[in-house]
Symmetry: C2
DNA sequence: GTGAAAGCGCTAACAG
DNA sequence: CTGTTAGCGCTTTCAC
């Protein structure tokens, strides 16, 4: 399988695949998968009894039960989830719609969801929802419409009214993480309170010249997160008797975004603030890198605090608000499964729940350890 | 919905959910979902005809086809994927087994896979495979055994012989990314060649005192990645007439791992190398952060190059090998679907394919742009 | 406690 | 080109 260094990998790929496929004879275990009828026959019971024994639903004598179970084991029987779903209507699968996969917060949520789900015997189908586009519509009209899940977790997706409507019509349980959806339970931090707390933390360290760097007020990522965090900042500043005017800057909600803004803002020593409240941990990290590049010592010359804790943040000595997104994911699954158990579909829930996750303000050097439980 | 600040969020949650569920009457669109029989009746054709018209398989006159389609549209019909799968044996779903979700490389692969899959009408079920544990076994024995997918993509998972056997017995198409699996096509970079190229790049810049920082030779993440990259490094050094002995250090394959090792190695100016080849981009970033913290200028005083490109790397001015993990994901999907189309299951593939993806060495300041296509 | 029978919603022969 | 007939593999009444 020599690879030709003069062709692109796509070209190489196309050639390779074509020539590589070799039919082999059916390997061990070959032939059709065994069905419950086989199990029943082997255990000398009816299919119905075998089903009851294996699923645990309905009365079966302990003796026949064990006979059925061992029969199933010997022939390596596994239920056909499709057949079971067809009759029960349950899939043992949960759909997750999420705007990003790679960003820290979302990846953490995903891991939490996945762990909680697996433990409960569910698996997880991911739908990475792009911004408004035909692809996005297709996810709603086709993939979601197939309803191959018992419930949906919507992670920080900003849904149009039509999309919310779609979701409800799926007649499936539905919970949200990170942003309220009309008529649906949602797990979210209180953005205003969190931003306020972060700002107050900086104020308590004696800072007066504080800048907030967050997302665009026009392009809200979702649910007015940006403006709510800005509002929390302004409130804290005003309450402390400082004017927040002119101390807010917009940037991209990413590491490069924070980096770029950091170079801009921190470049001029006269305009440089003593502390920055960043709307996200990624922005904060970008800021810190920029600060270091400019020779500014963090945190002695500049305090930075960001929302959305992440393990990596620690190594940057980043004072951070830790909200454990992974736990948010687990919480969502717990809620969802509760609804599933009580057979309450999405439309059965009248109110949104705002859950403020526990916050911990950590800092490495200059600030006291402060926790809010 | 007042939240009691004196209880943990878990406690609050438990109370909240119990009191919150309110049954509402069935909302709009209520009642059972429409079936293909409804469509057939409305269009005055047989179910089979409706099926043919909707699925596009088999002959239907253009006239009846449009009648069926519009009938389906008016009653908002969507096929039951379970019922269809039960008879066709196809699920239009692909399983992905992957050791991490949050790490850059894996998240990037996931995004590539997801995009390619959605475009092809498939959705993606993720199984985050932990290290050897009962949970891991359960994924194989239960979740994967259910076979609710047409194929599996294994991303850099180090499989035991038993697990490989399991996978093959699923009788589903199977491709690997990032590490060879016996009897399965795999997409991977050539670790030796890549490491060698990276080292040669540093040599070509005139460096002589080069250190390689990579993963533990005992705990290989998978597929001897660590030792292969080390071997590539040693080969390049020896070929250039330099001894590589004593210039390899092991660290955790993460940002903090690189950071810690950076502090150790770069702390002593006498022992400090002029260039470092890092086995991963995360290590490289950790190194750079450590270097900056020690006041070392990158890249003028220290060149760093890492394997596994990532967008974030650019902002760290990291000279990087870009292998576009997203494209690796897309490639894998293309391969998988090709096999699916040709109805060739995993066991029909005799050889592994090593695909060296195109490499681009980028650098911001001191090095020439160099590409290998 | 267990068995027989009736589908779940769909597609794939096979006739016409 | 279209309709009729059988199931896919399972769970679930309903008798016994």
């Amino acid at each position: 399988m020599a690879t030709d260094a003069n062709s692109t990998c796509w070209n190489r790929f196309q050639n390779d695949v074509k020539t590589d496929i070799v039919m082999l004879t059916e390997s061990k275990g070959g032939g059709a998968m065994s069905t419950i009828a086989d199990v029943a026959r082997l255990a000398s019971v009816a299919k119905a009894t075998a089903s009851r024994a294996l699923s645990g639903r309905g009365y079966v004598s302990e003796e026949t039960r064990s006979r059925v179970v061992s029969a199933a084991r010997t022939i390596g029987y596994v239920v056909s989830p499709n057949a079971a779903s067809l009759v029960t209507g349950r899939t043992k699968n949960i759909g997750v719609i999420i705007p990003f996969i790679g960003r820290w917060f979302f990846a953490e949520v995903l891991e939490g969801v996945e762990q909680a789900l697996l433990a409960a015997g569910y698996d997880m189908t991911i739908y990475n929802l792009p911004a408004a586009s035909p692809e996005r519509d297709r996810i709603f009209d086709y993939f979601l419409a197939r309803r191959r899940f018992d419930g949906v977790i919507a992670v920080s997706v900003d849904l149009s009214n039509l999309e919310v409507e779609h979701l409800h019509q799926l007649q499936r349980s539905l919970v949200g993480i990170g942003g309220a959806i009309p008529g649906v339970h949602t797990i979210a931090i209180d953005d205003v309170a969190t931003a306020r707390l972060a700002t107050e933390h900086l104020l308590s360290l004696g800072h007066r010249d504080i800048v907030h760097i967050g997302g665009s007020q026009e392009e809200q990522m979702d649910f007015n997160v940006h403006s709510q965090r800005l509002f929390g900042f302004r409130t804290a500043m005003l309450t402390a008797g400082h004017s927040p005017d002119g101390s807010f800057y917009e940037c991209d909600f990413t590491v490069p975004g924070g980096y770029e803004m950091g170079l801009n803002i921190l470049g001029d020593p006269r305009r440089r603030p003593t502390a920055i409240f960043a709307a996200s941990d990624e922005i904060a990290i970008g800021l810190i890198v920029a600060a270091r590049e400019l020779g500014i010592l963090v945190p002695s010359e500049l305090s930075v605090i960001g929302i959305d804790g992440h393990p990596h943040a620690e190594m940057f000595r980043l004072t951070t608000l830790e909200q454990n997104p992974r736990n948010q994911g687990r919480l969502a699954v717990t809620m969802l499964l509760t609804d599933l158990d009580s057979a309450a579909p999405a439309t059965a829930m009248a109110q949104s729940t705002m859950i403020t996750t526990d916050l911990v303000i950590r800092s490495s050097t200059s600030a006291p350890r402060l926790s809010l439980t």
